[in-house]
Amino acid sequence: MLSLLAANWSTFLLGFWNTILCSLISLFFSLIIGSGFAILETVPNKFWRGVAKVYVEIFRNIPLLVVTMVFYLVLPTYTPLKLTGFQAGTIGLSIYSSAFIAETVRSGIQSVGVGQMEGARSNGMTYWQAMRYVILPQAFRIVIPPLGNQFVNLIKNSSILAFVAGFDLMYQGDIVASNTFQTIPSYVLVGLFYLILTLPLSYYMQYLEKKGV
């Protein structure tokens, strides 16, 4: 197996790098989009709350593969937008994950005591000021461990790039497997690479939870 790794080192490395890149980019965008919708889910305006709920429910109940394929195949065929496999996969992953992050952040916002909002408002802050200076900082501290879990899920889900020629770890491992016919050793190597990313993160999150962040 080591010889397989050595012979295909650059292939695996490219995949490893693309997986990391896709995960980080998706994390960034899904955090922003997700938090945005989470806040939208808690505003007093019923209409906007509904819009947010619709978005979240749609993307939580459709498979990631379907979302990704829409960006990869459907959009380019009907719009002038042309995306590479990596781009389509990353966008699909970002949007899919944003729905889950929205739920996580929303529960964080709602678990901040009602008294906080009341106290802030009674001190003269507007709704948005209260959100920005009082509620949200507390909410984010609460949701760090669950968000960490979402990040681990995101890294695993980045394997969706294998379906759209995204040159990630799974795709590259697949290429090595089809070319060398050594399917099991290739996939074991892919697994090890993923564990390098996910296991430490997972254990760190467990540690944070124990510490009672």
């Binding site: 380019p76 065929t77 042309k82 020629a165 795709y171 290429i175 089809s178 070319n179 016919f181 399917t183």
Partner: protein, 281 residues
């Protein structure tokens, strides 16, 4: 109570394991030939996405095509009129593994007989002589594989096919992007993600048959692709049976009839050239 729980867990584990084992048979220790004769069934690994060769018909839920008919004819030839044919749908990626592990007895899936593959599986005699070429958008000015020898061009190919090394030979600078199946390659070409798609002319002809106004096939095939039936390595008795069946079908006109049935309507298709047994004929 603790002991009861432990017993329960152990029981569940045993139950699951036995479910797994009874649900699937152990790997075959008997030869393919014996198994086929015993069960009076040949399990063929075939495709569901290749027009004219083996394409899934949505209405019936079964594949139809030249390969399907040929497989049926071979089955009846080897096992007699009562012989049964079973189709397992496989992907390009898994077809060789499916043979090795015994999921199928034989693979007829537009698979080219190459020296590399011969090292790990048996091949029957050639049942179709294709050649690799490219399909490009109708307006494309590129005329042959050599025109693609530029790193700005990307060519879609199927994972596990012979395309990569062939493209590499004639257009080393071109980028090859791999997809899981013909459909994905074709969709990529249509979406503009690749400038061309490389595959066997027979396969490509089927793909563009509905989009003749959008794509064209480059006329020159730059390789010769003899399709053979894949059989597990070492199963020489079964391979001989299949070859014998093929010979008989060629001799008694069934082969020619099937070729005509499926390829007569394809414009520009040279049936005689595709029926060759050897490339040198």
């Amino acid at each position: 109570m603790a002991r009861k729980l432990r017993e329960l867990t152990a029981f569940m584990a045993v139950l699951l394991l036995s479910l797994v084992f009874t649900a699937c048979s152990h790997s075959q220790s008997s030869s393919t030939y014996d198994r086929v004769k015993q069960t009076k069934t040949i399990t063929w690994g075939m495709r569901a996405d290749t027009r004219l060769f083996s394409m899934m018909d949505v209405d019936s839920g079964k594949a139809t095509g030249f390969e399907v008919d040929l497989a049926r004819a071979i089955t009846k030839q080897i096992l007699g009129p009562k012989g049964k044919m079973k189709i397992e749908y496989i992907s390009e990626k898994s077809r060789i593994m499916d043979l090795k592990i015994g999921n199928v007895d034989a693979v007829m899936a537009t698979m080219t007989n190459t020296p590399d593959r011969r090292k790990i599986i048996n091949f029957s005699d050639t049942y179709f002589m294709a050649g690799e070429t490219l399909i490009v958008p109708k307006k494309s000015k590129l005329n042959s594989i050599k025109d693609f020898n530029n790193s700005k061009y990307s060519i879609a190919a199927v994972k596990g096919s012979t395309a990569d090394s062939d493209v590499h030979k004639y257009a080393p600078k071109a980028r090859v992007i791999f997809y899981d199946d013909y459909g994905s390659c074709y969709n990529a070409l249509k979406a503009g993600k690749a400038n061309a798609m490389v595959s066997d002319n027979a396969v490509l002809a089927g793909l563009i048959s509905n989009d003749k106004d959008k794509f064209k096939m480059l006329p020159d095939t730059f390789t010769v692709e003899p399709y053979g039936i894949g059989i597990k390595k070492g199963e020489d008795k079964f391979t001989a049976e299949v070859n014998q069946a093929l010979k008989v079908l060629r001799k008694n006109g069934t082969y020619a009839r099937l070729m005509k049935k499926w390829f007569n309507g394809v414009p520009g298709f040279n049936i005689k050239a595709s029926s060759r047994l050897k490339a040198s004929e």
